[in-house]
């Protein structure tokens, strides 16, 4: 912790979320999405947020990105309160979010164009980034000509083009097939090590969170709270073979236990009481009388 504080003085990219609460609706329809969450991402750290679907992890990311305002508490980046979206936080979305009317290179240039950079400098930066993503030969293609994995790689380098202090990733590989996911995870760790920026990564995939992260926050079912914080002591650079080591397996088991409780809690109360074994037998209506 002392080391981390020392780093924070030299390096930017500290995300600090304090006592965060988010409620949607009012009165009877009030839904508490996030309840009293505090978390942080140290400069240069890779942190994952994992939890059952609907636990508010994407809402949390939206707040850090500046799309949603919290009901209580605050989110800060390097000590400054986050109020609106900005190019100091790169965001990679779960859905493909490339502009279909721009070529691959123009997509990567977009943030630089918004910053008012001149064409030749935009071009140089974009081409260097595309080279890093090994997609330079596709610079003049349109996004619709590319595969899902390629689109997400471009999404990542586009977010990096404006040199943000942090990268916020909302289940970026959720729509990809398993093989592509594994490759993308390795590419992401490489890019992260080169850029040395903080990453807040949302996922519901346990292996993915362990493979990528320095630290993992586990969230509870709605209302979302932080249930546990787990450090991942695996050495860097991470390799695909590491997923077979006992250390990795143990972490998977530990996280699976934590997540399973919450996934059950997120389902209907009856299932929660009886466990999954009771599913299907007594849940449905018994007869016509139950329906009318």
């Amino acid at each position: 912790m002392i080391m981390a504080t020392a780093m924070a003085e030299t390096q930017k990219g500290l995300i600090d979320v304090r006592d965060m609460g988010v409620t949607f609706g009012a009165n009877d329809n009030k839904i508490i999405a996030v309840d009293n969450v505090s978390l942080n991402v140290q400069p240069g750290e890779f942190v994952s947020l994992i939890g059952p679907s609907g636990c508010g992890k994407s809402t949390l990311l939206s707040i850090v990105a500046g799309f949603v305002k919290p009901t209580s508490g605050d989110a800060k980046l390097d000590g400054n309160a986050i109020t609106k979206p900005g190019s100091d936080r790169g965001v990679v979305f779960q859905q493909y979010s490339l502009f279909p009317w721009l070529s691959v290179r123009k997509n990567v240039e977009f943030g630089l164009k918004m910053a008012g950079l001149e064409q030749s400098k935009r071009n140089t930066t974009a081409r260097a980034l595309l080279d890093l993503a090994e997609l330079l030969s596709f610079e003049n293609h349109y996004p619709d000509q590319l595969s899902g994995g390629m689109k997400q790689r471009i999404g990542i380098v586009r977010a990096l083009a404006t040199s943000p202090q942090v990268l916020l990733m909302d289940e970026p590989f959720g729509a990809l097939d398993t093989q592509t996911r594994v490759v993308m995870q390795e590419i992401l760790t490489n890019i992260w090590q080169q850029f040395k920026i903080s990453v807040l990564f949302i996922t519901h995939d346990i292996e993915e969170s362990i493979f990528l992260s320095d630290r993992i926050y586990v969230m509870t079912a709605r209302p979302g709270r932080i249930k546990a914080e787990i450090k991942v002591p695996l050495p860097r650079p991470r390799r695909a073979e590491m997923t077979d080591t006992p250390e990795f397996m143990n972490l998977v088991q530990e996280l699976k236990g934590l997540i399973r409780e919450e996934s059950l809690a997120a389902m209907a109360p009856e299932i929660k009481d009886r466990g999954l074994s009771g599913f299907g037998m007594k849940v449905g209506p018994k007869g016509v009388g139950d329906i009318f």
């Binding site: 990105a65 500046g66 799309f67 609106k84 979206p85 900005g86 190019s87 936080r89 790169g90 965001v91 979305f93 859905q95 979010s97 502009f99 279909p100 009317w101 721009l102 977009f110 943030g111 164009k113 918004m114 910053a115 349109y142 996004p143 619709d144 000509q145 586009r158 977010a159 404006t162």
Partner: protein, 337 residues
Amino acid sequence: MGSMARAKVVALSMVDKHPEPQPLLAVKLSPAENPTAEAGADAAAPINSSALPAPEPEVVPTVSLTKVFRNLLAQITRERITTAALACVSIGALFLFWYIGTKYRVEFYIRFKNVPTPYEVFQQLTQVGLSNKYLVNIAISVRRILLGFFIAMAIGVPLGLAIGKYQRVRDLFMPVVEILRPIPAIAWVPMSIMLWPNNEASIVFITFIGAFFPILLNTIHGVHSLDGVLIRAAKCLGASEFRLFLNVILPGSLPHIFTGLAVGMGVAWVSLIAAEMISGQFGVGYFTWEAYSLVDYPAIVLGMITIGFLGLACSGIIRMVGSLLMPWLAFAPGGKR
């Protein structure tokens, strides 16, 4: 002289080997193909090409023509031949129906008694086709369409973008749009004559009304159907409100805007012809109605065919501009390729 001949051979073989030679190549070779150039300089010229001035324009087309010809040949595929054949069958069937109906003066509920034959219409075309009266009528109709359509586009697209983006603008404008929209442009004819100082302005206004609502509503729909994640992505990349409009909302809505323009152009023609028939002086609609009043039946059909061709040309131009402005659509899911 010998060196020049060799240079020529090289030039020709280059053209044969590469159906699409680089423009630079054509520049390099051009002096060698030009017999008027000095022979001594010729052999060296293709090599020291870096300091070469622009080529003589009459030489380059020789290469380009080969290219164009090859491209044309490559485009003649079985697929395209079938499409063209079916188009001929479709139009041929229409003419055959017309021809048989008028030749035998068919009468089975619909009556071909007074309908002119295709030949009579063709004769009419050769008589009036190049006459000043006919061409002036076309020119006036086209001018009215262009004026009405472009004013509708200039107001409809920006207003549609604003209504689509801002809830308050929507709240302000949509009630009046919803009331005026169901009124067909033709119903505006009497009001338009009262409102505008002259006949010309009132006809342009009716054309504008016809084109305006399809353009406006499709633009609004285009903004609404824009994927929200693109707007969020643009905001995180630092786009200001104005930049968001110019670089995301406008290009993102462009496919729907062009749908609106195509529909608007169609409705504009309908409205224009009706307006010309009712209140007009000049114009293709007026030409057609006048022919009916004067019992000049072949001219009626000529007027109709003229309207058909003008409408086809206008929507064709819109489609062409659309595909030039939106090259990415060719790769979109469900696109052509």
